[in-house]
């Protein structure tokens, strides 16, 4: 190990401004050697992004540097002049932002923005700079770099913008890269490409990295060492593989255990409670209120970060040394799907992106790409059907069409064999409205901020049932109990609840109608990882006990696999694979499903999914046949010409690909 570390942060505290400021980053220390990588994991609000900016000696408006130093290559950054800092930023330390789309100036061409960095930090002349820009864009695997450099940010996709941001960060050949959630907001398959790029760059240039993410899978792939943050403090720090396998701190253990994994089919365990708000943290160990092992000493005295084995430190009075055990896959009762009549039958459904009026619908003009393209699905009573796909797959649109919030262009949706659901919600019968309920992704937006929980629950009760005052009160109490909350919540407003609690209220509201079908649109995506598990448990229990059928839409295969009986995979509005959850995840047939599964990042450094060659990030050809042909890695010419037929690959599992063994028309 070298003499002095490249980066040394000691007892850093960043707090809100003013005399009563509360710490956002509280007494955090870390070290990084040249060429090493450190991952910082934690949920939202733990202070990791603030820490990252602080390494560059920048604090957002309203925050100030309270204590501690940050030493980069010997220079104390908080004591440096603005001039010195300007020289270091962008040239020796560079940051790759979370959202490249908003981090690039909309009025300047992307090439010129990279040029700005080069002009400031290098001595190259104009021609040399132009050359270097092309080199950089090529190094991040962007096509036609010379033309692309002249584009404006709004002309590029999310994945392309992220690559441009990486190129910009590398322009002046920094020795330290800071990555702020480098793959958040990108499609799963795009994420994998970006991570591969980062790993390759690191190997080639030997740059040191600090990577902040809430996604442990990303951290597992990128970093040698990792640190877990909770409520502004660092609670554990160790080499990545040992931390992920044998986490010592109870929070780290629960966090890792609460992530749904494909390799483990069960719903993970949840962590009860929520992290303390900044400034209201208890005096002792901050995790004590939620910790199952908390003792008197934990509440009285905050445990210091102490070494538990060479190279690993944890802040706990009772660190664990045993490896993490996964809950066994529970066999949840699968009902018999084949025999019973379908509750919901979707036949040849076509939904367009544009809202159509009466005229367009009677004319049924094919208007190019549709959000949902000739999809056929069925849902049986009590069954949980998972709808999986990335953005643009049409999965949410299908839910909206079923709920009557978006008109279908063509096709049929039949409920209970009798009712035609091809009409807007406003014109449907009350009994049909009651039977189909929707739960949305973002609990902040799906509850009226001006209504109390009581009013929110009362609405469906009032609308669908004729209850006396007393009966309503009873019903509300029992609903709250069902979602593991109590009557004390009735008079609270959504703003006073946590994200998880709000989502529970949303679920309670849906169940208040006693529906036959529950439509769940990415209901865990907006929640912190540790909270997601509790919602999944809740859903499983409620739908199991009441026999409610569910359509679960998610981009996260692991979440879907834990709950669903059957999975349907969508790509660009078309169904490409359908089958039992276990089967589809264990033995995916369609290349797209395989790519999706391969792209799921397990928070396990040893995990290697044995991948098919990665798909192209974007279509390179327009296809009149299979929608995936433009990106597929095993396509042939015929794929572009005709839409493949369904082919059975196992009992109940089928996929649409010409290249499947035994498929009609395969070579």
């Amino acid at each position: 190990m070298n003499a002095a570390p490249l980066l040394a942060v000691e007892h850093l505290t960043i707090a809100t401004a003013g005399p009563h400021g509360v710490p956002i980053v509280d007494d955090v220390s870390l070290q990084l050697d040249a060429g090493a990588t450190l991952g910082i994991a934690g949920e939202s609000g733990c202070g990791k992004s603030t820490l990252l900016l602080a390494i560059m000696s920048i604090t957002r408006t309203g925050l100030v540097h309270r204590a501690g130093i940050c030493r980069f290559d010997g220079l104390s950054l908080f004591d440096a002049t603005e001039r010195e800092l300007e020289r270091i930023r962008g040239s020796r330390i560079a940051l790759i932002p979370q959202n490249a789309g908003t981090a690039l100036t909309p009025t300047i061409r992307v090439g010129d923005q990279i040029d700005e960095s080069l002009k400031l930090h290098t001595d190259l002349d104009r021609k040399q700079r132009q050359q270097r820009i092309v080199e950089l864009l090529d190094a991040v695997h962007l096509p036609t770099p010379a033309t692309l450099a002249r584009r404006f940010p709004h002309e590029l996709s999310g994945g392309q913008l992220q690559r441009v941001a990486i190129a910009m960060a590398l322009a002046a050949e920094p020795v330290l890269l800071l990555l702020d959630e480098p793959t958040t907001g990108l499609d799963v398959t795009t994420q994998l490409g970006i991570l591969d790029l980062l790993v390759e760059l690191r190997r080639r240039t030997g740059v040191a990295m600090v990577c902040v993410s809430h996604d442990l899978g990303v951290i597992a792939r990128l970093s040698d060492r990792m640190m877990v943050m909770y409520a502004g403090q660092s609670v554990e720090e160790a080499p990545t593989s040992s931390l992920l396998r044998r986490p010592a701190h109870p929070y780290a253990r629960s966090l890792i255990a609460s992530i749904p994994r494909l390799s483990v089919g069960a719903i993970p365990a949840a962590i009860p409670g929520r992290p303390p708000a900044p400034g209201s943290a208890p005096a002792g160990c901050r995790f004590a209120p939620r910790c199952t092992k908390a003792a008197a000493i934990c509440i009285a005295a905050a445990p210091p970060l102490s070494e538990i084995e060479p190279g690993a430190r944890a802040a706990c009075h009772f660190p664990d040394t045993a490896p993490l055990i996964w809950p066994a896959a529970e066999g949840h009762s699968k009902h018999e799907s084949a025999s019973s009549k379908p509750l919901l039958a979707i036949d040849d459904l076509v939904v367009s992106y544009a809202r159509h009026g009466l005229i367009e619908r009677t004319m049924r003009r094919p208007t190019g790409a549709n959000a949902v393209d000739h999809v056929e699905l069925s849902l049986h009573p009590g069954e949980i059907l998972g709808l999986v796909g990335e953005s643009g797959s049409g999965k949410s649109t299908i839910l909206r069409a079923i709920a009557g919030l978006w008109p279908a262009l063509d096709g049929e949706i039949r409920f209970a064999g009798k009712y035609d659901l091809d009409r807007p919600a406003a014109t449907r019968e009350r009994s049909v409205l009651r039977a189909i309920q929707l739960v949305f992704q973002n609990p902040d937006a799906s509850l009226n901020p001006r209504h109390t929980v009581r009013e929110i629950l009362a609405q469906p009760l009032r609308l669908y049932f004729n209850l006396s005052r007393a009966a309503m009160a009873d019903r509300m109490s029992s609903l709250l109990r069902d979602v593991r909350l109590d009557d004390g919540y009735l008079d609270r407003y959504p703003a006073q609840l946590s994200g998880g609690e709000r989502q529970r209220i949303a679920i309670a509201r849906a169940y208040a109608a006693e529906p036959d079908i529950l439509l769940c649109d990415e209901i865990t995506s907006a929640l912190d990882v540790s909270v997601q598990a509790s919602i999944l448990h809740l859903l499983r229990d409620l739908s199991g006990s009441r026999g409610t059928a569910c359509i679960l839409v998610s981009h996260d295969l692991a979440v879907v696999q834990a709950l669903a009986d059957r999975i349907a995979v969508l790509y660009r509005g078309r169904l490409v694979e359908l089958g039992p959850a276990k089967g589809v995840c264990a033995a995916p047939a369609h290349p797209y499903t395989q790519a999706l599964i391969a792209a799921v990042l397990e928070p396990d450094p040893d995990h290697d999914a044995g991948r098919v060659p990665a798909p192209r990030e974007r279509d390179d050809r327009v296809s009149a046949g299979c929608p995936y042909a433009g990106r597929c890695s095993i396509r042939i010419e015929r794929c572009f010409e005709e839409m493949p037929h369904w082919h059975d690959v196992a009992t109940g599992q089928m996929a649409r690909c010409i290249m499947l063994p035994g498929a009609v028309g395969a070579l």
Binding site: L405, A425, L438, F440, S446, N448, Q459, P460, L463, A513
Partner: protein, 293 residues
Amino acid sequence: MTDRAAATFVARRLGVLGAVLAKPSGAFGVGIVALHLVLALFGPLFVPYDYAQQNVDTMMLAPSAEHWFGTDRLGRDVFTRTVLGGREAIVISTLATVIAMAWGGFLGIFLALVGGRIDEIIMRGVDAMLSLPWVLTVMIFVTALGTSSSVLVPVLGFSYGLAVIRIARSAALDFVARDFILAAQARGERRWTIVIRELLPNVRDALSVEAAMQWSWMILGFSSLSFLGFGVAPPTPDWGLMISDSRGLMAVAPWTVLWPMAALSTLVIGINLAADAFAKVLGVDRTRKVPGQ
């Protein structure tokens, strides 16, 4: 509403008022407005002179012990006329503001919810009507129908209401896009129920602050009209009219103009400060997109 709900309602209102008064700008603003309202209401009870009484002997006297604010060119006491000068303006403006907020507010929220063709067509019409400076619209009506308050109140209410439509619509649009409206639609709630139950409680704060601002603009507008001669008829005292009357004498008798100017300005500034403080307390964002009228 249950008793508990009613109690919370009142408690929240008082809480908001308390928070506003805690801020110096808020206390100042509310104080000034209250003072003006008291003077307008109870003024006639304590003013020393008759506002219409002319007196050749006391023309254009500087402020003194008998005439605190001096006298104007017809010998009338400026103090009396200043104290009473806000009455017409406040009454007419208040009525017109209520009309403007009611029709503009409901229509705006409704358009935000309904969207589509209806929204497009009506907003096109509204934008067109807003192209005509409101002064001229009022002047057209006044030319044809005269300047009585039964003409001014509806015309002002209508004209200012047009701008309110825009504002209410934009405030409601913020919420219409949110999932809880979709949830209500998915439940099958009637459109009107959604407007009143779901949207109105959310835009209520923004609209309340807006109502205060409209009120202040209405007062300004009415004063401008009086200044031009189309508002109040003499000898009724009105600040705008007083300023218009006396501006020819500004050089020799500035008090005839300064006092009504001060009165009008303080009332309007007071309303603005109070509205600003309310906005901050309620968390309403007030970057105005359209300049006041």
